[in-house]
């Protein structure tokens, strides 16, 4: 069976379908055509949610497992209802209330930030081998959900720890608001949220509280946000590392 998943469904539900092909519908694939989603959603809307609808319309799925409660987001809850009513695909909706935190080894590893996120996303539906991952002392933090456009992650050095909902994903506790709001004190952190996502309120609040940098990205990374992050990383550098101001 080809199964689309949204969010982080409870492990026991995923285990029931072990051996099948899982596809994370939150992902921006090369084939994701978000204009398709505009049949059901406003043109100006969260890019991740638009990807879910566009992917569901494109892929021939046998089943969707949609974690649509407060372990995901309100937009997800509404969109799951549209999918249920309008698409002829069987759907299981869940609320992941898991409270037992798994170790967050990927989030603190010495992998490049993009690879950290690839692995975190993979870890939702696969067993990921973390035995060779080494801890890295952080110089920066990245707080948020897996971005719609992963190229934002390439701006950061590997000495970047992951916080926010992405950390909850690895910990397998997507509804753990306390963990989601936890960051490392005095670590320069970029607080990222997808435009039109309700997590912007948390991102903005936490950035202000921790003297971090709040960034909101609609769809794909633009030059303005890129420059803003580059400046923040440079101004918060621990030591003189050559001339990273020269781009």
């Amino acid at each position: 069976m080809k199964i689309g998943i949204v969010g982080v469904p409870p492990q026991e539900i995923l285990d029931r379908y072990k051996g099948n092909e899982f596809i994370d519908l939150d992902t921006l694939f090369d084939f994701t055509d978000k204009t398709k989603a505009e049949k059901y959603l406003p043109k100006i809307y969260c890019a991740t949610i638009k990807s879910i609808i566009a992917n569901a319309l494109t892929l021939k799925l046998d089943l969707i497992i949609f974690d649509n409660g407060y372990s995901k987001c309100d937009n997800g809850r509404f969109v799951s209802e549209i999918l249920r009513r309008e698409f002829d695909i069987p759907m299981i909706t869940t609320q992941n209330n898991a409270t037992r935190k798994q170790p967050q080894i990927i989030c603190e590893s010495d992998l490049e930030l993009r690879k950290k996120f690839d692995l975190i996303v993979d870890s939702v539906v696969k067993d990921v081998d973390k035995s060779r991952l080494k801890y890295v002392e952080p110089e920066y933090g990245f707080w948020g959900v897996p971005p719609n456009d992963f190229s934002i992650l390439d701006l950061f050095p590997k000495e970047t720890h992951v916080f926010g909902w992405a950390r909850c994903m690895e910990a397998k506790v997507p509804a753990d608001l306390e963990l989601e709001m936890t960051v490392k004190e005095d670590l320069p952190t970029v607080f990222y949220a997808q435009a039109f996502c309700s997590k912007n309120s948390l991102a903005k609040y936490l950035a202000k509280k921790h003297n971090g940098l709040y960034v909101e990205v609609d769809d794909v990374l633009d030059n303005s946000v890129k420059s803003k992050i580059e400046a923040y990383l440079y101004l918060n550098r621990k030591k003189e590392k050559g001339t990273r101001a020269i781009l």
């Binding site: 003297n211 940098l213 303005s224 803003k228 440079y234 101004l235 101001a245 020269i246 781009l247």
Partner: protein, 215 residues
């Protein structure tokens, strides 16, 4: 050296020690290239590009000194600021989308109404501008309601100043960088003390990087 902004390019001829300003459109029609540059369009005319907020920070240090200060650059398209405490970086932000396009919209309205806003009296009331584009819609609404054009435009400029003031955390004093340093009304419209530094602050900052040879 060049600071290649959205609307204007600020140039420093280091051999002659001369500054000049040209329209960026004019630059793009010419064959001028810079050995180092910053600004939104810098990549189009330089191989070595410095992040404009870093250039602003370095330039401010050179012009103000190493103490504690807040410097804000209000450009055609964006607002950015850096705050230093005892010579050390403390805070920054950069607003290029929502709440932006400020300098650009003032210029657009000046051309449309053939008014130099710099000569206007400070408005008692702000127009409540969210951003340049949304603010313009309010300008046309007020005029259609019979309000005096000069009062409406002064209210628009005050709205923009209020917007900037909130964005930078409502300080008691700050340094201003950018083309709006030449707009007396804009400076008067703030509810705090403002010291204009002119529009060549980022160019001063580029001096730090001019001889590094690094990429």
């Amino acid at each position: 050296m060049g600071d290649v902004g959205t609307s204007y390019t600020k140039i420093l001829d280091t051999d002659r020690g001369e500054h000049r300003v040209i329209k960026t459109l004019e630059l793009l029609k010419s064959d001028i290239r810079f050995h180092i540059a910053c600004g939104h369009n810098a990549r189009l005319r330089a191989d070595r590009v410095v992040n404009e907020l870093i250039a602003l920070e370095e330039g401010s240090r050179r012009l103000i000194g190493e103490g504690s200060f807040l410097v804000v650059d209000v450009g055609s398209r964006d607002i950015k600021y850096v705050k230093l405490r005892d010579g050390k970086y403390e805070e920054m932000d950069w607003n290029a989308l929502c709440g932006a396009t400020l300098g650009f919209s003032i210029e657009l309205l000046e051309r449309h109404f053939d008014v130099n806003t710099s000569t206007l009296e400070k408005a008692g009331q702000s127009l409540g501008v969210t951003c340049g584009v949304l603010g313009m819609a309010k300008v046309f609404d007020r005029i259609s309601e019979g309000c005096e054009i000069s009062n409406v435009l002064a209210g628009f400029v005050k709205g923009i100043a209020d917007n900037v003031y909130r964005f930078i955390g409502e300080p008691e004093f700050f340094y201003l960088s950018g083309g709006l340093c030449n707009n007396g009304l804009f400076i008067k419209s703030f509810d705090c003390k403002v010291k204009p530094l002119g529009r060549f602050v980022p160019l001063e900052g580029l001096r730090k990087f001019e001889d590094t040879g690094a990429k």
